[in-house]
């Protein structure tokens, strides 16, 4: 740094150009801006009085240097105003002759270094949200396009411009978290390009800032009375509060003189009643996700679609440790906690947005208007403030953008259950959630895989049980007989290989019972005859034995061909007289109908008999068939102890029913979520959704 002392050309007081990069210095006596032009000095205007701000820096402060920053001195201060706010930018001179701008933004400190300007569009061609490829500097998103007035200054400035000049600029957000500024000055062409990164106060290494920390602590709360209604107000963020909407009378308070935090709040708009009562009162404190928050204020926003107006609430929170501003949005009883993210780290397309590798699907886009405000705010909030709000979701996370003509801002966060919010702020009367929230996670999101894992493990165990049962089961054929039709007229069958099958069948069957009715009654006589014939068809088997209590597989086969045979089977325990009765049917029909061949029925069928005890058994068979169509034979086989595959199949089906129900639950949940969206779940715009921003895009 090379200092040069001189006399003010306006008042003659001593002025000092304290750095080689100093082009203009402000006379501390008469506030003239004095430019050095070669060896001559020229007064190019007079700056206004400095507006008090909450900045911790002062001209003359020095940094001893840190690992993050080489030593520097603060040699000047530029004060700019957009009409909505006034802020400082500090001219920093390095020992090597370089300079930078030190600014305070987004709750942090930014050292903006001048770089060679890249080719960029003219200022009038820029729009918030626009993506700019700055070549070797990387890709940046336009966060803000504004013009600001050079209001005041002190110390040295590295440029020559008369006080009151209007500067056009665009603030950029880089993909790596950096910030950029395109400085267009007062003409269409680019005058300067600055890129910086965020630094903590400690990383700057500036001496003498301990007192500033104390001041911030002391300014964490400030009590005052509403100048409109006299109600007691307690500001939780007095160092940054620009507007207060009185929670007692609703009047909007702020400073009339400046745009920064005022020394004295005056009534800007008088109201007689609070426009709305937020469920979480401003001033409430509570911890969400382990972070302590203070509720500063609440905005009621609205949008109109298809003639209907929809409202939601956005609470402005201040994280107590980092002092960063977050948002708690509430819509239909669903809460989402959001924090600002650099726009340069977001890539947005028509259907999706990507942030830190995660992809979010577009959910809604609307014109959002501030309908009412309550509490304190760090900007000059006003009713009617309008933005285009776009929400992208990847439940439970949400990515939102709000853009206006001048700026674009992104926030990202996650769904917070209503009960968590109620517990955090001790407000049990929060709205009850209705429907499915935009970012509300499906209740089984984190556990559905465990359902499937449980089903798989149990299914594996069931298969093991089946294999073990199959290995240990006797699977023994205890009865296998074939019966031939020996009397086609009376439909009598006899066991193959026995004398009865060779013509002496009557020996096997019992004698016909005597008719029970009077011979003179023809109906009774016919019934008695039929009964006697039926009794003669009954076959009793030789005894057979089962060695273990087990199930029994009973099979029948018959060469049925457009015919049928129905065998009533009774297994009779010789020892106890206990019987088990069931039917075995063989039937098969086929033909051609209208040129189409058809068939139905089965020649063989199986019946399963439950838990047949060990012991000696007799099988009683009672075959019935159709005269003239009787199959020439049928075969009955009984197998003891056969693991039943269908039981395993049913077990597996039942095991997987609940996990499959979860799939339907998920589909239903997503259907209800996207029914509330302006877009389909694939990102397409829903016909007649009423998304009311088409004309703006």
């Amino acid at each position: 740094m090379s200092a040069r002392a001189a006399a003010c050309p306006n008042c003659g007081a001593e002025i000092l150009f304290s750095a080689g990069t100093s082009v203009v210095t402000i006379c501390p006596q008469c506030r003239s801006a004095v430019a050095r032009k070669g060896v001559n000095l020229e007064a190019i205007g007079v700056v206004a009085e400095l507006v008090p701000t909450s900045s911790p820096f002062k001209v003359g402060m020095r940094s001893r240097g840190t690992k993050a920053m080489k030593p520097f001195a603060i040699v000047g201060r530029l004060q700019l105003s957009t009409g909505e706010g006034t802020w400082d930018e500090w001219h920093v001179a390095f020992a090597d002759g370089g300079y930078a701008w030190l600014a305070e933004a987004q709750g942090g400190f930014w050292m903006m270094l001048p770089l060679a300007p890249p080719p960029v569009p003219e200022w009038t061609q820029l729009a918030p949200g626009q993506s700019l490829d700055l070549g070797a500097y990387g890709r940046f998103a336009v966060a803000e396009v504004r013009q600001a007035t050079y209001v005041s200054a002190e110390g040295d400035l590295p440029f020559e411009a008369p006080p009151g000049s209007v500067f056009r600029y665009a603030d950029l957000s880089g993909a790596d978290g950096s910030l950029g500024t395109l400085d267009y000055g007062d003409d269409p062409g680019l005058d300067g390009f600055y890129v910086g990164r965020r630094l903590e106060l400690e990383e700057l290494g500036i001496e003498g800032l301990a007192a500033w920390k104390d001041r911030k602590v002391a300014a964490k709360a400030q009590a005052l009375n509403c100048p409109s209604c006299g109600g007691a107000l307690e500001l939780k963020d007095p160092a940054n509060t620009v507007r207060v909407a009185c929670p007692h009378c609703g009047s909007l308070l702020g400073g009339k003189a400046g745009d920064g935090p005022p020394d004295k709040f005056e009534v800007l708009k008088k109201l007689s009643a609070v426009p709305f009562k937020p469920a979480i009162p401003p001033g409430s404190e509570g911890a969400l996700n382990g972070h302590p928050y203070t509720v500063l204020g609440a905005l009621q926003k609205s949008t109109t679609s298809d003639g209907a107006t929809y409202f939601w609430i956005e609470y402005l929170l201040k994280e107590q440790k980092s002092e960063a501003y977050h948002w708690l949005a509430e819509s239909n009883g669903h809460f989402t906690l959001l924090e600002p993210v650099p726009g340069g780290e977001v890539e947005a397309s028509a259907r999706y947005a990507t942030y830190k590798g995660a992809r979010y699907r577009i959910f809604s886009r609307s014109h959002a208007t501030v309908s009412a405000v309550v509490g304190e705010f760090y900007w000059a909030v006003s009713r009617g403030e309008a933005t285009i709000a776009t929400d992208y979701v990847a439940p439970p996370r949400m990515l939102s953008s709000e853009s206006s003509d001048a700026e674009s801002a992104w926030t990202e966060g996650a769904y917070v259950p209503r009960d968590d919010v109620a517990a955090a702020f001790r407000t049990p009367d929060l709205p009850v959630p209705s429907g499915v929230g935009a970012a509300q996670p499906w209740p089984h999101e984190g556990t559905s895989h465990l359902w499937w894992r449980t089903a798989r493990l149990l299914a594996l165990a069931a298969i093991v049980v089946f294999v073990a049962a199959k290995v240990t089961a006797p699977k023994k054929v205890v009865f296998d007989r074939t019966y031939d039709l020996v009397d086609p007229v009376r439909l009598v069958y006899a066991e193959r290989g026995t004398p009865s099958a060779a013509g002496g069948w009557a020996q096997q069957t019992a004698p016909a019972p005597k008719p029970a009715s009077a011979p003179g009654n023809p109906v009774a006589a016919r019934e008695a005859k039929e009964e006697a014939e039926a009794a003669q068809r009954v076959i009793l088997s030789d005894p057979f034995e089962t060695t273990r209590k087990a199930n029994m597989e009973a099979d029948i086969w018959a060469p049925t061909d457009n015919s049928w045979v129905d065998v009533g089977v009774s297994l009779i325990a010789e020892g106890t007289g206990e019987a088990r009765s069931f039917g075995l049917v063989s039937d098969r029909y086929h033909g051609v109908d209208g040129g189409e061949s058809w068939s139905e029925g089965q020649q063989s069928r199986t019946v399963w008999v439950s838990r047949v005890p060990a012991g000696k058994w007799v099988a009683r068979l009672d075959p019935e068939t159709e005269r003239g169509q009787a199959p020439p034979q049928f075969r009955v086989r009984l197998t003891s102890g056969v693991p039943h595959l269908s039981q395993l199949v049913w077990t597996l089906v039942l095991l997987f029913v609940p996990p499959f129900l979860l799939i339907f639950s998920r589909l239903s949940w997503e259907g209800r979520r996207w029914a509330e969206s302006d877009f389909t779940s694939s990102g397409g715009e829903r016909p007649g959704s009423g998304s009311d921003t088409d004309s703006d895009e």
């Binding site: 009533g568 009779i572 088990r580 039943h644």
Partner: protein, 55 residues
């Protein structure tokens, strides 16, 4: 809910194992007692047609 499903699945597995090893089946056969005359008949069930008329 997941605990309920685990309990349901466990009971289902136990039920299946019991059915598989004891031979339990659903339906298929009607269990009943035979008439005592059948057992008392000299030829037992094979020779005394106690089922006359299927009753």
């Amino acid at each position: 809910m997941r605990r309920i499903f685990q309990a349901f699945g466990g009971l289902l597995l136990l039920g299946y194992a019991w059915a598989a090893f004891t031979g339990w089946e659903t339906g298929g056969a009607v269990k009943h007692e035979t008439l005592p005359q059948g057992a008392r008949n000299a030829g037992g069930y094979r020779t005394w047609h106690f089922w006359s008329g299927g009753k």
